[in-house]
């Protein structure tokens, strides 16, 4: 109750803060410009306007690079698209400038969509490459076409207040309007980070496979990040063009793209204040006395190089590190004894009643080699089924085939629904929850963030609701936050709720992963070597907890284990894989009576 009240107070204070900032943005520049024209001359206001639009551009790239982990080297072309689109609207059709900003944002978004669709299908630096070539191409071609740009003389972009107005607003007022837009973009950015969108972006930045296993459609979210970034860049371009009043293609070349990258790297990748402050500093640098005026870019490039090699989080990261509290020593996994997995688990989706998982003649081929060959297996509701077999038998590959991470032939049916053609994130959404041998968590994020991330599928508000942080999104987020609190309490991890997963011990990470998956209430829980890295006592404990989960909640589990005694103890039914093929299957008693399993498991006749 108390914490609830605190929360509303915080929110209340936040809205007052935003109101004050907005008021300051609107009132201060015109007031200063009027009262002290020397302090804020129109030239200074113009410089600051440039800094503010650069700041929005930096936030735009930061959204893409800092959150989603994708690099764009042609951001200037997106700014240019926004600026020229705004010019067409405002100059040719006589519409007010804010309509121009909106159209500029739209143009940036559309262009980003068009480039992103081919480029984001590929992993790695391909977006950087395509945007780089695209930016250069635009500057050499479309941005020079007369239709948009009136040739080399440039297209005018008047600061028009109302339809057909010919009186233009002055620079300080324009600056205050730009500041308001900056606050707006900033708030949208905040909303992205505190909703499903930001969590999905950050998960993709860390590991696309993990993100998929949490049910995130990686291609869609990468595209969304790029389009949102494009919209912000388009708005930034329109604001910038309006400041100067004239848009020429030369402004939106490689230098500007590079400058935006430098700003984000210096200011701190994944942060807000740093990039905006650096943007304004770089904008006013040319008005300062030398050496800043002459060497501003040299200094910026030098700092960037230093930052990249020494401080990967940028200056803002440096400040945050100084502030960061040291975390407590990792607790031992023995706390498992107290753990009640059933309390951690989310509401389970009702099962259809039939077999939970049917795998029918699944094969996986890697370059002519059969890693898994014609394997069929079934998992009945409320059973714990184990898969054992020697190293390289294809156990993990079979898991990957079932969860959709490797292409396979054959059929997979989950609770009566065929999922053979579904993508990994769709299978996760259908109720297939899995863990990974090397722990599938976003390691730079906190325990709480990871548990929220696992709830991706339940954050069912629309993207627009997320951007606006509408009441519906707020309600869903509050409910998920409450659920995450419950899971953390159930785990006994209150102390580590906001600790990055990376700082936990291997055993603790494994527990968090299990809890995160369980919290989604999966129809089938797939565990890849759940006891790896645990001490024998802890492994026994975990097995006991899993058994409890089955008995108390009827949770269906399929697991891979190397710890054969544990599997035989725990599982209702066991499949033995060897060299990609199913060697045997049965209950513990049945398997114990098959001498050939020893041979397969340890290679030929062992102790004969």
């Amino acid at each position: 109750m108390r914490s609830l009240r605190n929360k509303t107070e915080v929110q209340h204070r936040r809205s007052i803060d935003v109101g004050l900032v907005l008021l300051a943005c609107v009132v201060l520049p015109p007031l200063t410009g009027w009262a002290m024209p020397d302090l804020l001359s129109s030239a200074h206001a113009l410089t600051l306007t440039y800094g503010v639009s650069l700041g929005i551009a930096a936030l735009s790239l930061n959204l893409l690079l800092g959150y989603a982990g994708q690099l764009s080297l042609g951001h200037a072309a997106l700014l240019g698209a926004g600026a020229f689109a705004a010019s067409v609207i405002v100059d040719r059709f006589g519409l007010p400038m804010y309509v121009g900003w909106a159209v500029g944002g739209l143009a940036g978004g559309v262009v980003a969509l068009a480039i992103g669709i081919p480029a984001l299908r590929l992993r790695g630096l391909y977006l950087a490459l395509v945007t780089l070539v695209f930016g250069a191409t635009m500057q050499a071609s479309v941005l020079r076409w007369r239709f948009f740009t009136h040739g080399s003389s440039g297209a005018s972009l008047p600061r028009r207040w109302w339809f057909g107005d010919h009186i233009l607003i002055n620079e300080p007022i324009y600056l205050s309007m730009c500041l308001v837009v900056l606050v707006g973009v900033w708030l949208v950015d905040v909303n992205i980070i505190r909703t499903r969108l930001g969590r999905a972006f950050l998960a993709i930045r860390e590991d696309e496979t993990t993100a998929q296993s949490f049910g995130i459609d990686v291609v869609r979210y990468k595209l969304l990040a790029f389009v949102l970034s494009g919209v912000m860049a388009g708005i930034a371009g329109a604001l910038y063009g309006g400041g100067i009043g004239l848009v020429t293609s030369d402004e939106f070349g490689r230098e500007l793209s590079l400058r935006i990258v430098l700003i984000v790297v210096i200011g701190g990748i994944g942060r807000r204040w740093g990039p905006v402050v650096i943007s304004v500093l770089l904008a006013i640098a040319p008005t300062l006395p030398p050496p800043f005026r002459r060497y501003d870019l040299v200094i910026a490039a030098g700092i960037t190089l230093y930052n990249v090699v020494k401080l990967p989080e940028g200056l803002a990261g440096l400040i945050a590190h100084r502030r960061a509290k040291p975390t407590g020593p990792p607790v031992d996994v023995e706390q498992l004894r107290e753990l009640d997995l059933a309390a951690v688990a989310g509401a389970a989706a009702p099962l259809g009643g039939g077999t939970v998982l049917i795998v029918h003649e699944v094969s996986v081929e890697f370059g002519g080699l059969h890693a898994v060959e014609d394997v069929s297996l079934r998992v009945e509701p409320g059973q714990i089924v184990g898969i054992i077999g020697p190293n390289g038998a294809g156990k993990s590959t079979l898991f990957n085939a079932i969860s959709g991470f490797v292409p396979s032939t054959g059929a997979v049916t989950l609770d009566g629904v065929p999922i053979s053609w579904a993508k990994p994130h769709e299978r996760a959404a259908a109720g297939l929850g899995r863990t990974f041998q090397n722990v599938g968590l976003a390691r730079d994020q906190s325990v709480r963030q990871n548990i929220l991330l696992a709830q991706h599928h339940f954050a069912s508000y629309s993207d627009l609701a997320a951007l606006a942080y509408s009441p519906s999104a707020r309600d869903v987020e509050a409910r998920l936050a409450g659920l995450a609190d419950e899971v953390i309490t159930g785990l006994g991890f209150e102390e580590y709720a906001d600790t990055p997963v990376r700082q936990l011990s291997g055993g603790q990470q494994r527990l968090v992963e299990l809890a995160a998956v369980l919290a989604t209430g999966p129809k089938l829980l797939m565990l890849d070597e759940p006891t790896a890295g645990l001490s024998p006592a802890a492994a026994e404990n975990l097995a006991e907890r899993l058994r409890q989960l089955r008995d108390d909640r009827g949770q269906t589990i399929l697991l891979i284990e190397h710890n054969v005694p544990l599997v035989l103890d725990l599982c209702d039914y066991v499949y033995v894989l060897s060299a990609g093929q199913l060697l045997a299957a049965g209950t513990t008693e049945e398997l114990s009576a098959m001498p050939e399993i020893l041979g397969a498991y340890l290679g030929g006749e062992v102790f004969a």
């Binding site: 982990g69 690099l71 080297l73 081919p118 480029a119 299908r121 590929l122 790695g124 630096l125 391909y126 950087a128 490459l129 395509v130 780089l132 070539v133 695209f134 250069a136 191409t137 050499a140 071609s141 479309v142 020079r144 076409w145 007369r146 070349g253 490689r254 230098e255 590079l258 400058r259 990258v261 430098l262 790297v265 002459r294 060497y295 870019l297 040299v298 910026a300 490039a301 030098g302 960037t304 190089l305 990249v308 090699v309 990967p312």
Partner: protein, 288 residues
């Protein structure tokens, strides 16, 4: 048309040198070196100053610029690439962006924004070869590009050290447990790429003319496109890609001369890059 194609071939050969440098570093360090062409521009300024302002022979200026490029390449490898050996590759890519920005910024502050001119090393009349006029510079350029490409191919194939550089691109750890110093291969890769950049900049300068800060960014884009079309993992692909881009650009420019839509060749190159990435991401000549 034939004239345009020959010019395209000469320029394409030089694109190939830039592209070779890009591919060399991509295979050796798994990174795109965004400063690949700008290094050449930077060192070209030094050659220009030595030759034009200090009246030294062209050969001295050229040698100095190549030596400087080597020094920059090796220094950058030691300071930024080697310490980031186990960092995500995007981090190293951003480091090369910083190097690019540093080079451009230094060019502007040290050499000024105004363009400079460097007279071509060989003067003389163009020769008429079966109806096509070829300048002595172009012939020299063609010969040099062929020599460099052939020499590199032989070096990577027949020397143990060259072989270890190629192997480093395939498995760095294996190199270490076979007792081969990885650091030397890495330094060599970056040094060689820088030298190729300086050499290519010297060769292409007579065709571009004025040297100004960032003047070769367009060339870098073409070289990068060549590497992407040919295949980032294939030196042969980079070489052929460079020739394809050079000849293709010259042909399209020749065909669309007078069009009001400027930049059609650039648009076509961009389209070719996107099509390659979508339908054959490993490049036209790449394998895998």
């Amino acid at each position: 048309m034939a004239q345009a194609l020959v010019v395209g071939l000469v320029i394409g050969g030089i694109y190939s040198l830039f592209a070779l440098g890009i591919v060399l570093i991509y295979t050796g360090s798994g990174v795109l070196n965004f400063a690949q062409a700008e290094l050449g521009t930077f060192t070209l300024f030094v050659a220009q100053i030595l030759v034009v302002e200090h009246h030294l022979p062209y050969a001295v200026g050229a040698a100095a610029s190549i030596a400087l490029a080597l020094a920059i390449g090796v220094t950058f490898e030691r300071l930024a690439v080697w310490p980031l050996l186990n960092a995500p590759r995007v981090t190293v890519a951003v480091a090369t962006l910083a190097l690019l920005a540093l080079a451009v910024a230094l060019e502007i502050t040290l050499f000024g924004p105004v363009g400079r001119n460097l007279p071509p090393p060989i003067t003389g009349h163009s020769v008429n070869v079966i109806g096509v006029f070829v300048s002595p510079n172009q012939i020299a350029s063609l010969v040099l590009v062929a020599l460099v490409a052939g020499g590199l191919a032989a070096f990577f194939r027949y020397t143990d050290f060259g072989l270890s550089v190629v192997a480093a691109a395939q498995d760095q750890e294996a190199l270490r447990f076979l007792g081969i110093p990885l650091a030397r291969a890495s330094m060599f890769t970056w040094g060689l790429a820088a030298v190729l950049s300086a050499l290519a900049a010297l060769l292409i300068q007579p065709d571009i003319g004025v040297i100004s800060p960032g003047a070769y960014s367009g060339i870098f884009i073409r070289a990068l496109s060549a590497a992407l079309i040919g295949g980032l993992g294939s030196m042969r692909g980079a070489f052929l890609g460079g020739v394809i881009v050079g000849v293709g650009e010259a042909a399209i420019r020749h065909a669309t001369v007078g069009s009001s839509l400027t930049g059609l060749p650039e648009l076509c190159i961009f389209a070719a890059v996107v099509l390659t990435l979508v339908f054959r991401p490993q490049g036209v000549f790449g394998s895998r």
